[in-house]
C-alpha cells in the first residue's frame, strides 16, 4: 500500500538542495515532497504531518526558524520531527533550533550519504509499508 509510505518533506529555496534530497532518497521506501518556500509548503502542512520535515534557515520571505516557531503553535506540528538544513552554521542558530525542538542541525554542503543516514536515523525503513 503505497499510501502508507512514510513521508519526508523538504522546504528549501535552493533547487539543487531539493535535487540532492531526491537523489539521496531514490532507493528509500518513502515519499519525498519538496517545496521552495515556507509559504508554498503551508497548504500541505496545514493539513498533514510528515514523518520528517527538513527546513532551510535562510529563505526568501520567511526564514526557517521563524517558520518553525509558527508551526509549533499549530497543534498538528507541536511535536513534528524537524531537522534544520543550512549553510548558516552558527551556535546561536543551533540554540534557537534546539529550543524549538529541532532534532538536528545539518550544514550544507552535505554529501548524499549524510542525507540518507540522517533520514534512516529517524525513519523506520525496516517496515516502511
Amino acid at each position: 500500500m503505497s499510501d502508507s509510505k512514510q513521508i519526508v518533506v523538504v522546504v528549501d529555496d535552493n533547487a539543487t538542495v531539493r535535487k540532492l534530497f531526491e537523489r539521496s532518497t531514490e532507493n528509500l521506501a518513502l515519499d519525498l515532497i519538496t517545496y521552495d518556500s515556507a509559504k508554498a509548503s503551508m497548504e500541505y502542512l496545514n493539513e498533514n504531518k510528515p514523518d520528517l520535515l527538513f527546513l532551510d534557515i535562510i529563505m526568501p520571505e520567511k526564514d526557517g526558524l521563524t517558520f518553525l516557531q509558527e508551526l509549533r503553535k499549530l497543534p498538528l506540528h507541536k511535536d513534528t520531527s524537524v531537522i534544520m538544513i543550512t549553510s548558516k552554521d552558527y551556535a546561536q542558530d543551533r540554540t534557537v533550533a534546539n529550543e524549538l525542538g529541532a532534532l538536528e542541525f545539518i550544514t550544507k554542503p552535505m554529501p548524499m550519504s549524510a542525507i540518507t543516514d540522517i533520514i534512516l536515523k529517524y525513519i523506520n525503513q525496516d517496515n516502511p509499508y
Binding site: M59, K108, P109
Partner: protein, 303 residues
C-alpha cells in the same frame, strides 16, 4: 521641501571604540539616519543613536520616527536606553525587527533594560511606542518603502531594502558573504564527482540569490568587518571580509558601496589601508563601482 539625506551616526561593529586612534572613522556602533522630507527612518540603535536622539529632541518639526533593527545583538540596540525622544511624551516611536510577533520584538527590546543590567525599564519610556507587525511584507513611511530579507549572521538577522524616490538603498550591517562557497571549497576533495557538480550548482544558485538581493542598488551599506588575515581566524563569526564585499558589490552592479560595521580593533590607519586595497580590487576588475569607507558624520544627499 526639506532636504533628503542619509547620515552615518555610528559605523563600528561589536563595541564602541572612542579611542583617539579611531576617531577619523568614528567610534559609535551601528546607526544610520535616513531622512526624506522629514520622514525619518533609523537603521539600528547602536550607540550612534544617542547623539542622533539628542539632535532630534532639540527640534520640533517631526516627532515621529521608525527604527528598523537588523537584529538584537548589543552593538545594534545598546543606544536605545539613552535615546532621549523615547522619554518625551509627544513623540511617536515605531519599531520593527526580526521576530515572529509584536510581543517577541518588544520582549527583545525590553530585556536589555531590566535588572540587573539597567536601572530603569522600557515602562519609563513616555513616548507613544508602537511595534510593527512582522507579517507586513512592506513597511512604508511617506515616500519610503522598506522590505527585508534574511542574511548570514548568528540568529535571525535582516538586511533591509529601502526604496526612496528613484533610489534603492540596501542596508546590511551584519552578513557573512560567500559562506557556502568557502565551506564547499574546504571540503571539495571529500565529495564524489556527482556531489561536486551538485555543490558547484548549489553554490552558484546561492550566490545568484545573494546577488539578487542587492542587484543594481544605488547605495549598498555592508558589513566589511574583517581583513583577509582576520577572516582566517574568524570565519563563522557572521561577518564579511572586505575583499568579498567589494567583489560581491561589483558582481551585483551596485553603484555605491559604503564599507560599514568596522572592527574596533582596526584604527584609522588600518581602515585607510582597507580603502586603498578596495580601490585596487575595483581598478583590477575595471569596474565602475564607487567605494567609500562609512565614517561617522558622513552625509549622503538623496535628492
Amino acid at each position: 521641501m526639506a532636504k533628503s539625506y542619509l547620515r552615518f551616526w555610528g559605523v563600528r561593529g561589536s563595541y564602541a571604540s572612542p579611542f583617539p586612534t579611531h576617531l577619523q572613522v568614528g567610534g559609535n556602533t551601528s546607526c544610520v539616519e535616513i531622512n526624506v522630507d522629514d520622514h525619518i527612518v533609523i537603521c539600528d540603535a547602536g550607540t550612534g543613536i544617542i547623539p542622533l536622539g539628542n539632535k532630534l529632541a532639540a527640534q520640533t518639526s517631526n516627532k515621529d520616527v521608525l527604527i528598523i533593527l537588523t537584529h538584537y545583538h548589543w552593538d545594534h540596540i545598546c543606544g536605545l536606553p539613552f535615546f532621549v525622544p523615547a522619554f518625551i511624551s509627544d513623540w511617536n516611536i515605531n519599531f520593527f525587527g526580526p521576530g515572529e510577533s509584536i510581543q517577541e520584538i518588544k520582549q527583545n527590546l525590553d530585556s536589555q533594560m531590566q535588572a540587573p543590567y539597567f536601572p530603569v525599564g522600557t515602562e519609563t519610556w513616555m513616548a507613544n511606542i508602537n511595534y510593527i507587525e512582522p507579517r507586513d511584507t512592506e513597511i512604508t513611511r511617506g515616500p519610503i518603502g522598506i522590505t527585508y530579507y534574511g542574511v548570514h549572521h548568528p540568529g535571525i538577522t535582516y538586511g533591509y531594502k529601502i526604496k526612496i524616490l528613484d533610489k534603492t538603498i540596501i542596508y546590511v550591517s551584519d552578513n557573512e558573504c560567500q559562506f557556502l562557497d568557502k565551506s564547499i571549497k574546504q571540503q571539495m576533495t571529500e565529495f564524489s564527482e556527482e556531489e561536486q557538480e551538485m555543490f558547484e550548482a548549489m553554490n552558484r544558485e546561492e550566490y545568484e540569490y545573494e546577488l539578487q538581493t542587492i542587484r543594481g542598488a544605488d547605495i549598498l551599506i555592508h558589513d566589511a568587518q574583517y581583513t583577509p588575515e582576520d577572516y582566517e581566524t574568524k570565519r563563522g563569526w557572521g561577518h564579511s571580509c572586505y575583499v568579498d564585499v567589494v567583489n560581491y558589490a561589483i558582481d551585483a552592479e551596485v553603484k555605491e558601496l559604503y564599507l560599514y560595521h568596522h572592527d574596533p580593533y582596526n584604527d584609522d590607519d588600518a581602515i585607510d589601508e582597507i580603502y586603498k586595497k578596495s580601490q585596487e580590487i575595483i581598478q583590477k576588475r575595471d569596474a565602475s563601482l564607487k567605494c567609500y569607507i562609512a565614517r561617522e558624520g558622513m552625509e549622503i544627499e538623496l535628492d
